[in-house]
Amino acid sequence: MRARCVAYIGWLAIVVALPFFTQPYYMHLLIQILLWSFVYTAWSIMGRFGFVSLGHGAFMGVGAYVPGLLWSYYGVTPWAGIPLGVLVSVLLALIIGYPCFRFRVIGHYFALVTLALGQVIMLSIIAARDFTGGSLGFTLRAVGNSWLALQFVRRPTGT
Protein backbone atom coordinates (compact mmCIF):
# COMPACT_ATOMS: atom_id res chain seq x y z
CA MET A 1 0.00 0.00 0.00
CA ARG A 2 2.71 2.42 1.03
CA ALA A 3 4.97 1.42 -1.78
CA ARG A 4 2.13 2.02 -4.19
CA CYS A 5 1.51 5.49 -2.72
CA VAL A 6 5.15 6.36 -3.17
CA ALA A 7 5.05 5.08 -6.73
CA TYR A 8 2.02 7.22 -7.53
CA ILE A 9 3.56 10.33 -6.01
CA GLY A 10 6.80 9.68 -7.86
CA TRP A 11 4.89 9.30 -11.13
CA LEU A 12 2.98 12.52 -10.49
CA ALA A 13 6.19 14.36 -9.73
CA ILE A 14 7.73 13.20 -13.01
CA VAL A 15 4.63 14.24 -15.00
CA VAL A 16 4.55 17.66 -13.33
CA ALA A 17 8.28 18.16 -13.81
CA LEU A 18 8.39 17.08 -17.47
CA PRO A 19 7.10 20.33 -19.05
CA PHE A 20 9.89 22.31 -17.44
CA PHE A 21 12.72 20.68 -19.28
CA THR A 22 11.16 18.99 -22.34
CA GLN A 23 11.58 20.26 -25.86
CA PRO A 24 8.27 21.48 -27.37
CA TYR A 25 8.17 18.71 -29.93
CA TYR A 26 8.64 15.96 -27.37
CA MET A 27 6.14 17.69 -25.13
CA HIS A 28 3.70 17.53 -28.01
CA LEU A 29 4.39 13.81 -28.39
CA LEU A 30 3.85 13.21 -24.67
CA ILE A 31 0.53 15.04 -24.74
CA GLN A 32 -0.51 13.04 -27.78
CA ILE A 33 0.39 9.82 -25.99
CA LEU A 34 -1.82 10.77 -23.05
CA LEU A 35 -4.69 11.86 -25.28
CA TRP A 36 -4.62 8.75 -27.43
CA SER A 37 -4.29 6.43 -24.46
CA PHE A 38 -7.38 8.12 -23.06
CA VAL A 39 -9.28 7.58 -26.31
CA TYR A 40 -8.05 4.02 -26.44
CA THR A 41 -9.34 3.38 -22.93
CA ALA A 42 -12.76 4.71 -23.92
CA TRP A 43 -12.81 2.42 -26.92
CA SER A 44 -11.59 -0.68 -25.14
CA ILE A 45 -14.28 -0.39 -22.46
CA MET A 46 -16.71 -1.39 -25.19
CA GLY A 47 -14.28 -3.51 -27.15
CA ARG A 48 -13.82 -5.92 -24.27
CA PHE A 49 -17.52 -6.77 -24.38
CA GLY A 50 -17.27 -7.49 -28.07
CA PHE A 51 -18.84 -4.24 -29.22
CA VAL A 52 -16.69 -2.88 -31.99
CA SER A 53 -17.37 0.82 -32.25
CA LEU A 54 -16.23 2.52 -35.43
CA GLY A 55 -17.88 5.74 -34.38
CA HIS A 56 -15.85 6.91 -31.42
CA GLY A 57 -14.73 9.82 -33.54
CA ALA A 58 -18.33 11.05 -33.29
CA PHE A 59 -18.11 11.33 -29.51
CA MET A 60 -14.67 12.89 -29.73
CA GLY A 61 -15.94 15.36 -32.29
CA VAL A 62 -18.92 16.35 -30.18
CA GLY A 63 -16.69 16.67 -27.13
CA ALA A 64 -14.31 18.91 -29.05
CA TYR A 65 -16.84 21.09 -30.89
CA VAL A 66 -19.24 21.79 -28.01
CA PRO A 67 -16.75 23.54 -25.69
CA GLY A 68 -14.91 25.08 -28.64
CA LEU A 69 -18.01 26.61 -30.24
CA LEU A 70 -19.44 27.67 -26.88
CA TRP A 71 -16.24 29.53 -26.08
CA SER A 72 -15.72 31.10 -29.48
CA TYR A 73 -19.28 32.26 -30.13
CA TYR A 74 -20.88 32.67 -26.71
CA GLY A 75 -17.88 33.23 -24.45
CA VAL A 76 -18.80 30.28 -22.24
CA THR A 77 -15.70 29.28 -20.32
CA PRO A 78 -14.36 25.78 -21.09
CA TRP A 79 -14.67 25.05 -17.37
CA ALA A 80 -18.41 24.86 -18.03
CA GLY A 81 -18.10 23.89 -21.69
CA ILE A 82 -16.12 20.71 -21.12
CA PRO A 83 -18.69 19.12 -18.76
CA LEU A 84 -21.39 20.23 -21.18
CA GLY A 85 -19.52 18.58 -24.06
CA VAL A 86 -19.25 15.39 -22.03
CA LEU A 87 -22.97 15.58 -21.30
CA VAL A 88 -23.88 16.04 -24.95
CA SER A 89 -21.75 13.09 -26.05
CA VAL A 90 -23.26 10.96 -23.27
CA LEU A 91 -26.71 11.90 -24.53
CA LEU A 92 -25.69 11.02 -28.08
CA ALA A 93 -24.35 7.68 -26.87
CA LEU A 94 -27.63 7.00 -25.07
CA ILE A 95 -29.71 7.91 -28.09
CA ILE A 96 -27.76 5.52 -30.27
CA GLY A 97 -26.91 2.89 -27.66
CA TYR A 98 -30.29 2.30 -26.06
CA PRO A 99 -32.14 1.28 -29.25
CA CYS A 100 -29.10 -0.74 -30.34
CA PHE A 101 -29.23 -2.99 -27.33
CA ARG A 102 -33.01 -2.88 -27.06
CA PHE A 103 -33.33 -4.25 -30.60
CA ARG A 104 -30.28 -6.52 -30.30
CA VAL A 105 -28.26 -4.78 -32.98
CA ILE A 106 -24.94 -6.47 -32.23
CA GLY A 107 -21.83 -7.84 -33.90
CA HIS A 108 -21.08 -6.58 -37.40
CA TYR A 109 -24.36 -4.68 -37.37
CA PHE A 110 -23.41 -2.69 -34.28
CA ALA A 111 -20.06 -1.80 -35.85
CA LEU A 112 -21.82 -0.53 -38.96
CA VAL A 113 -24.42 1.47 -37.01
CA THR A 114 -21.59 3.24 -35.17
CA LEU A 115 -19.79 3.74 -38.48
CA ALA A 116 -22.91 5.46 -39.80
CA LEU A 117 -23.16 7.53 -36.63
CA GLY A 118 -19.59 8.75 -37.10
CA GLN A 119 -20.43 9.78 -40.65
CA VAL A 120 -23.65 11.52 -39.57
CA ILE A 121 -21.80 13.64 -37.01
CA MET A 122 -18.85 14.40 -39.28
CA LEU A 123 -21.02 15.37 -42.26
CA SER A 124 -23.36 17.42 -40.07
CA ILE A 125 -20.39 19.41 -38.79
CA ILE A 126 -19.18 19.91 -42.37
CA ALA A 127 -22.68 20.88 -43.53
CA ALA A 128 -22.94 23.56 -40.83
CA ARG A 129 -19.90 25.24 -42.32
CA ASP A 130 -21.07 28.78 -41.64
CA PHE A 131 -20.96 28.02 -37.97
CA THR A 132 -18.24 25.37 -37.60
CA GLY A 133 -15.91 26.25 -40.45
CA GLY A 134 -16.74 23.02 -42.29
CA SER A 135 -13.89 20.74 -43.27
CA LEU A 136 -11.34 23.53 -42.84
CA GLY A 137 -11.99 23.41 -39.12
CA PHE A 138 -12.11 26.40 -36.86
CA THR A 139 -9.64 28.02 -34.53
CA LEU A 140 -10.58 28.96 -31.00
CA ARG A 141 -10.93 32.64 -30.24
CA ALA A 142 -7.56 33.45 -28.70
CA VAL A 143 -7.31 35.67 -25.65
CA GLY A 144 -3.70 35.19 -24.61
CA ASN A 145 -2.89 33.95 -21.16
CA SER A 146 -6.06 33.05 -19.32
CA TRP A 147 -7.03 30.42 -16.82
CA LEU A 148 -10.68 31.17 -17.53
CA ALA A 149 -10.30 30.25 -21.20
CA LEU A 150 -7.75 27.52 -20.44
CA GLN A 151 -5.42 29.17 -22.91
CA PHE A 152 -1.75 29.62 -22.28
CA VAL A 153 0.70 31.55 -24.38
CA ARG A 154 3.64 29.42 -25.34
CA ARG A 155 6.65 30.03 -23.21
CA PRO A 156 10.18 28.95 -23.99
CA THR A 157 10.79 25.44 -22.67
CA GLY A 158 13.76 23.19 -22.41
CA THR A 159 17.31 24.26 -22.47
Binding site: P99, H108, Y109, L112, A116, G118, V120, S124
Partner: protein
Amino acid sequence: MDIFLLEAIINGVLLGGVLALLALGLNLIFGVIDVVWIAYADLVMCGMYVVYLLYAALGWPLPLACIVAVVGVAILGVAVHVLIIAPILGSAPINQLLATGGLLFFLQSFATLLFGTDFRNLGLRLPIIEVGDIYISSARLLAFAMALIGAVAIYLFLRRTFIGTAIRAIAQDRDIIGLMGVDERRIYVITSAIGAALAGLSACLLALQYDVHPFIGNTFGPLIFLICVLGGLGDMIGGFIAAFIISQIIAIGGYYSSTELSYVLAFAFFIVLMFVRPREILVR
Protein backbone atom coordinates in the same frame (compact mmCIF):
# COMPACT_ATOMS: atom_id res chain seq x y z
CA MET B 1 -42.41 17.52 -62.47
CA ASP B 2 -39.50 19.85 -62.04
CA ILE B 3 -36.88 19.27 -64.69
CA PHE B 4 -34.01 19.59 -62.22
CA LEU B 5 -35.58 17.06 -59.91
CA LEU B 6 -35.86 14.65 -62.82
CA GLU B 7 -32.19 15.26 -63.61
CA ALA B 8 -31.31 14.58 -59.97
CA ILE B 9 -33.25 11.32 -60.05
CA ILE B 10 -31.56 10.19 -63.26
CA ASN B 11 -28.15 11.03 -61.84
CA GLY B 12 -29.12 9.08 -58.73
CA VAL B 13 -29.91 6.03 -60.82
CA LEU B 14 -26.57 6.33 -62.63
CA LEU B 15 -24.69 6.69 -59.33
CA GLY B 16 -26.60 3.70 -58.00
CA GLY B 17 -25.13 1.48 -60.70
CA VAL B 18 -21.53 2.07 -59.59
CA LEU B 19 -22.45 1.79 -55.92
CA ALA B 20 -24.20 -1.48 -56.67
CA LEU B 21 -21.10 -2.82 -58.39
CA LEU B 22 -18.92 -1.82 -55.44
CA ALA B 23 -21.37 -3.34 -52.98
CA LEU B 24 -21.48 -6.53 -55.04
CA GLY B 25 -17.74 -7.08 -54.68
CA LEU B 26 -17.78 -6.38 -50.98
CA ASN B 27 -20.87 -8.52 -50.55
CA LEU B 28 -19.10 -11.44 -52.14
CA ILE B 29 -16.17 -11.21 -49.73
CA PHE B 30 -18.40 -10.43 -46.78
CA GLY B 31 -20.77 -13.30 -47.50
CA VAL B 32 -18.26 -15.96 -48.51
CA ILE B 33 -15.18 -15.36 -46.36
CA ASP B 34 -17.17 -13.70 -43.54
CA VAL B 35 -14.50 -11.04 -43.08
CA VAL B 36 -15.16 -7.31 -43.11
CA TRP B 37 -12.70 -5.72 -45.48
CA ILE B 38 -12.72 -2.22 -44.06
CA ALA B 39 -10.03 -1.32 -46.58
CA TYR B 40 -12.19 -2.29 -49.57
CA ALA B 41 -12.76 1.29 -50.68
CA ASP B 42 -9.02 1.88 -50.54
CA LEU B 43 -8.45 -0.93 -53.01
CA VAL B 44 -10.66 1.17 -55.28
CA MET B 45 -8.43 4.15 -54.55
CA CYS B 46 -5.37 2.08 -55.57
CA GLY B 47 -7.11 1.09 -58.79
CA MET B 48 -7.90 4.72 -59.57
CA TYR B 49 -4.25 5.61 -59.10
CA VAL B 50 -3.22 2.83 -61.45
CA VAL B 51 -5.58 4.18 -64.13
CA TYR B 52 -4.34 7.70 -63.50
CA LEU B 53 -0.69 6.67 -63.61
CA LEU B 54 -0.97 4.62 -66.79
CA TYR B 55 -3.34 6.87 -68.70
CA ALA B 56 -2.49 10.41 -67.66
CA ALA B 57 1.17 10.05 -66.71
CA LEU B 58 2.46 7.34 -69.05
CA GLY B 59 0.03 7.94 -71.92
CA TRP B 60 -1.29 4.40 -72.31
CA PRO B 61 -4.63 3.97 -74.09
CA LEU B 62 -7.50 4.10 -71.62
CA PRO B 63 -8.97 0.59 -72.15
CA LEU B 64 -5.53 -0.97 -71.65
CA ALA B 65 -4.99 1.10 -68.49
CA CYS B 66 -8.36 -0.07 -67.20
CA ILE B 67 -7.59 -3.72 -67.86
CA VAL B 68 -4.26 -3.41 -66.09
CA ALA B 69 -6.03 -1.69 -63.18
CA VAL B 70 -8.61 -4.48 -62.86
CA VAL B 71 -5.97 -7.19 -62.98
CA GLY B 72 -3.67 -5.24 -60.65
CA VAL B 73 -6.35 -4.72 -58.02
CA ALA B 74 -7.35 -8.39 -58.30
CA ILE B 75 -3.74 -9.37 -57.59
CA LEU B 76 -3.69 -6.91 -54.71
CA GLY B 77 -6.86 -8.52 -53.38
CA VAL B 78 -5.28 -11.98 -53.50
CA ALA B 79 -2.21 -10.60 -51.73
CA VAL B 80 -4.43 -9.08 -49.04
CA HIS B 81 -6.17 -12.39 -48.55
CA VAL B 82 -3.05 -14.54 -48.52
CA LEU B 83 -0.89 -12.19 -46.44
CA ILE B 84 -3.42 -10.65 -44.05
CA ILE B 85 -6.69 -12.56 -43.90
CA ALA B 86 -5.63 -16.20 -44.28
CA PRO B 87 -3.31 -16.33 -41.24
CA ILE B 88 -6.03 -14.92 -38.96
CA LEU B 89 -9.04 -16.64 -40.49
CA GLY B 90 -9.75 -18.55 -37.29
CA SER B 91 -9.29 -15.70 -34.83
CA ALA B 92 -11.89 -13.33 -33.38
CA PRO B 93 -13.78 -11.16 -35.91
CA ILE B 94 -12.53 -8.01 -34.20
CA ASN B 95 -8.92 -8.98 -35.00
CA GLN B 96 -9.75 -9.45 -38.66
CA LEU B 97 -11.52 -6.11 -38.69
CA LEU B 98 -8.58 -4.35 -37.07
CA ALA B 99 -6.09 -6.03 -39.40
CA THR B 100 -7.90 -4.73 -42.49
CA GLY B 101 -8.28 -1.40 -40.67
CA GLY B 102 -4.49 -1.32 -40.44
CA LEU B 103 -4.33 -2.02 -44.16
CA LEU B 104 -6.61 0.98 -44.72
CA PHE B 105 -4.17 3.33 -43.00
CA PHE B 106 -1.24 1.67 -44.74
CA LEU B 107 -2.75 2.14 -48.20
CA GLN B 108 -3.80 5.73 -47.52
CA SER B 109 -0.40 6.68 -46.13
CA PHE B 110 1.39 4.86 -48.91
CA ALA B 111 -0.62 6.70 -51.56
CA THR B 112 0.07 9.98 -49.78
CA LEU B 113 3.76 9.15 -49.77
CA LEU B 114 3.81 8.33 -53.48
CA PHE B 115 1.46 10.95 -54.88
CA GLY B 116 0.96 13.59 -52.20
CA THR B 117 -2.48 14.79 -51.24
CA ASP B 118 -3.20 16.61 -54.51
CA PHE B 119 -6.42 15.98 -56.35
CA ARG B 120 -5.53 14.49 -59.71
CA ASN B 121 -7.80 13.82 -62.67
CA LEU B 122 -7.39 12.02 -65.93
CA GLY B 123 -7.71 15.24 -67.92
CA LEU B 124 -10.36 13.51 -69.95
CA ARG B 125 -13.71 15.12 -70.70
CA LEU B 126 -16.37 12.79 -71.99
CA PRO B 127 -19.20 14.54 -73.82
CA ILE B 128 -22.41 15.60 -72.12
CA ILE B 129 -25.53 14.10 -73.60
CA GLU B 130 -28.51 16.38 -73.91
CA VAL B 131 -31.99 14.89 -73.79
CA GLY B 132 -34.56 17.63 -73.96
CA ASP B 133 -33.54 19.95 -71.14
CA ILE B 134 -31.78 17.25 -69.19
CA TYR B 135 -28.01 16.97 -69.21
CA ILE B 136 -26.50 13.56 -68.59
CA SER B 137 -22.77 13.03 -68.35
CA SER B 138 -21.80 10.19 -70.65
CA ALA B 139 -19.09 9.14 -68.20
CA ARG B 140 -21.87 8.35 -65.73
CA LEU B 141 -23.91 6.59 -68.36
CA LEU B 142 -20.91 4.47 -69.34
CA ALA B 143 -20.25 3.70 -65.68
CA PHE B 144 -23.85 2.66 -65.20
CA ALA B 145 -23.85 0.40 -68.24
CA MET B 146 -20.52 -1.20 -67.30
CA ALA B 147 -21.74 -1.73 -63.75
CA LEU B 148 -24.85 -3.50 -64.99
CA ILE B 149 -22.81 -5.69 -67.37
CA GLY B 150 -20.36 -6.54 -64.59
CA ALA B 151 -23.17 -7.42 -62.20
CA VAL B 152 -24.90 -9.66 -64.73
CA ALA B 153 -21.59 -11.36 -65.56
CA ILE B 154 -20.95 -12.08 -61.88
CA TYR B 155 -24.51 -13.31 -61.46
CA LEU B 156 -24.12 -15.73 -64.37
CA PHE B 157 -20.71 -16.80 -63.10
CA LEU B 158 -22.14 -17.63 -59.68
CA ARG B 159 -25.12 -19.48 -61.14
CA ARG B 160 -23.68 -21.32 -64.10
CA THR B 161 -20.13 -22.42 -63.30
CA PHE B 162 -18.82 -25.03 -60.89
CA ILE B 163 -16.65 -22.56 -59.02
CA GLY B 164 -19.58 -20.16 -58.75
CA THR B 165 -21.72 -22.91 -57.28
CA ALA B 166 -18.94 -23.75 -54.82
CA ILE B 167 -18.76 -20.09 -53.81
CA ARG B 168 -22.48 -19.96 -53.15
CA ALA B 169 -22.33 -23.26 -51.26
CA ILE B 170 -19.54 -22.02 -49.02
CA ALA B 171 -21.61 -18.97 -48.15
CA GLN B 172 -24.41 -21.26 -47.00
CA ASP B 173 -22.44 -23.74 -44.92
CA ARG B 174 -18.71 -23.39 -44.51
CA ASP B 175 -18.31 -26.32 -42.11
CA ILE B 176 -19.61 -29.03 -44.37
CA ILE B 177 -18.19 -27.79 -47.65
CA GLY B 178 -14.88 -29.61 -47.20
CA LEU B 179 -16.73 -32.93 -47.23
CA MET B 180 -18.14 -32.11 -50.65
CA GLY B 181 -14.70 -32.13 -52.21
CA VAL B 182 -14.21 -28.37 -52.40
CA ASP B 183 -10.95 -26.84 -51.28
CA GLU B 184 -12.06 -23.93 -49.09
CA ARG B 185 -8.77 -22.09 -49.25
CA ARG B 186 -8.75 -22.08 -53.03
CA ILE B 187 -12.33 -20.78 -53.13
CA TYR B 188 -11.40 -18.03 -50.67
CA VAL B 189 -8.52 -16.92 -52.88
CA ILE B 190 -10.74 -16.94 -55.97
CA THR B 191 -13.46 -15.01 -54.17
CA SER B 192 -10.94 -12.40 -53.01
CA ALA B 193 -9.67 -12.06 -56.55
CA ILE B 194 -13.19 -11.60 -57.98
CA GLY B 195 -14.22 -9.17 -55.25
CA ALA B 196 -11.07 -7.13 -55.75
CA ALA B 197 -11.47 -7.25 -59.54
CA LEU B 198 -14.92 -5.70 -59.10
CA ALA B 199 -13.25 -3.01 -56.99
CA GLY B 200 -10.80 -2.48 -59.86
CA LEU B 201 -13.61 -2.20 -62.40
CA SER B 202 -15.41 0.32 -60.19
CA ALA B 203 -12.12 2.21 -59.87
CA CYS B 204 -11.94 2.58 -63.66
CA LEU B 205 -15.53 3.84 -63.79
CA LEU B 206 -15.05 6.24 -60.87
CA ALA B 207 -11.78 7.59 -62.29
CA LEU B 208 -13.79 8.86 -65.27
CA GLN B 209 -16.02 10.96 -63.01
CA TYR B 210 -14.04 11.94 -59.94
CA ASP B 211 -10.62 13.28 -59.06
CA VAL B 212 -8.21 10.84 -57.45
CA HIS B 213 -6.74 11.56 -54.05
CA PRO B 214 -5.46 9.29 -51.26
CA PHE B 215 -8.56 9.70 -49.09
CA ILE B 216 -11.22 9.17 -51.72
CA GLY B 217 -11.95 5.80 -50.13
CA ASN B 218 -13.29 7.57 -47.07
CA THR B 219 -15.94 9.38 -49.06
CA PHE B 220 -17.81 6.35 -50.32
CA GLY B 221 -16.38 3.49 -48.22
CA PRO B 222 -18.94 3.76 -45.39
CA LEU B 223 -21.69 4.06 -47.99
CA ILE B 224 -20.77 0.70 -49.54
CA PHE B 225 -20.93 -1.00 -46.17
CA LEU B 226 -24.38 0.41 -45.53
CA ILE B 227 -25.59 -0.84 -48.88
CA CYS B 228 -24.22 -4.32 -48.21
CA VAL B 229 -25.97 -4.53 -44.88
CA LEU B 230 -29.21 -2.96 -46.10
CA GLY B 231 -29.40 -5.41 -48.95
CA GLY B 232 -28.64 -8.36 -46.74
CA LEU B 233 -25.22 -9.97 -46.54
CA GLY B 234 -24.68 -12.35 -49.39
CA ASP B 235 -27.90 -11.24 -51.05
CA MET B 236 -26.83 -9.89 -54.44
CA ILE B 237 -30.23 -8.70 -55.63
CA GLY B 238 -31.05 -7.08 -52.29
CA GLY B 239 -27.73 -5.25 -52.45
CA PHE B 240 -28.65 -3.95 -55.88
CA ILE B 241 -31.99 -2.60 -54.71
CA ALA B 242 -30.39 -1.06 -51.61
CA ALA B 243 -27.79 0.69 -53.78
CA PHE B 244 -30.51 2.38 -55.79
CA ILE B 245 -32.50 3.36 -52.69
CA ILE B 246 -29.44 4.94 -51.07
CA SER B 247 -28.37 6.71 -54.25
CA GLN B 248 -31.89 8.09 -54.69
CA ILE B 249 -31.88 9.43 -51.13
CA ILE B 250 -28.56 11.12 -51.85
CA ALA B 251 -29.66 12.50 -55.21
CA ILE B 252 -33.06 13.80 -54.15
CA GLY B 253 -31.77 15.01 -50.77
CA GLY B 254 -28.97 16.81 -52.59
CA TYR B 255 -31.55 18.48 -54.79
CA TYR B 256 -33.54 19.86 -51.86
CA SER B 257 -30.60 20.72 -49.58
CA SER B 258 -26.82 20.36 -49.62
CA THR B 259 -24.76 17.32 -50.56
CA GLU B 260 -23.55 16.76 -47.01
CA LEU B 261 -27.05 16.85 -45.60
CA SER B 262 -28.22 14.32 -48.16
CA TYR B 263 -25.47 11.96 -47.01
CA VAL B 264 -26.47 12.63 -43.41
CA LEU B 265 -30.00 11.67 -44.41
CA ALA B 266 -28.80 8.43 -46.02
CA PHE B 267 -26.80 7.42 -42.95
CA ALA B 268 -29.61 8.38 -40.58
CA PHE B 269 -31.98 6.33 -42.73
CA PHE B 270 -29.64 3.39 -42.33
CA ILE B 271 -29.46 3.75 -38.53
CA VAL B 272 -33.22 4.01 -38.18
CA LEU B 273 -33.74 1.04 -40.48
CA MET B 274 -31.31 -1.01 -38.40
CA PHE B 275 -33.49 -0.32 -35.38
CA VAL B 276 -36.81 -0.90 -37.11
CA ARG B 277 -35.79 -4.07 -38.90
CA PRO B 278 -32.57 -5.34 -37.39
CA ARG B 279 -30.84 -8.09 -39.27
CA GLU B 280 -33.40 -9.21 -41.79
CA ILE B 281 -33.43 -6.59 -44.28
CA LEU B 282 -35.25 -4.22 -46.49
CA VAL B 283 -36.51 -6.36 -49.31
CA ARG B 284 -38.87 -9.29 -48.79
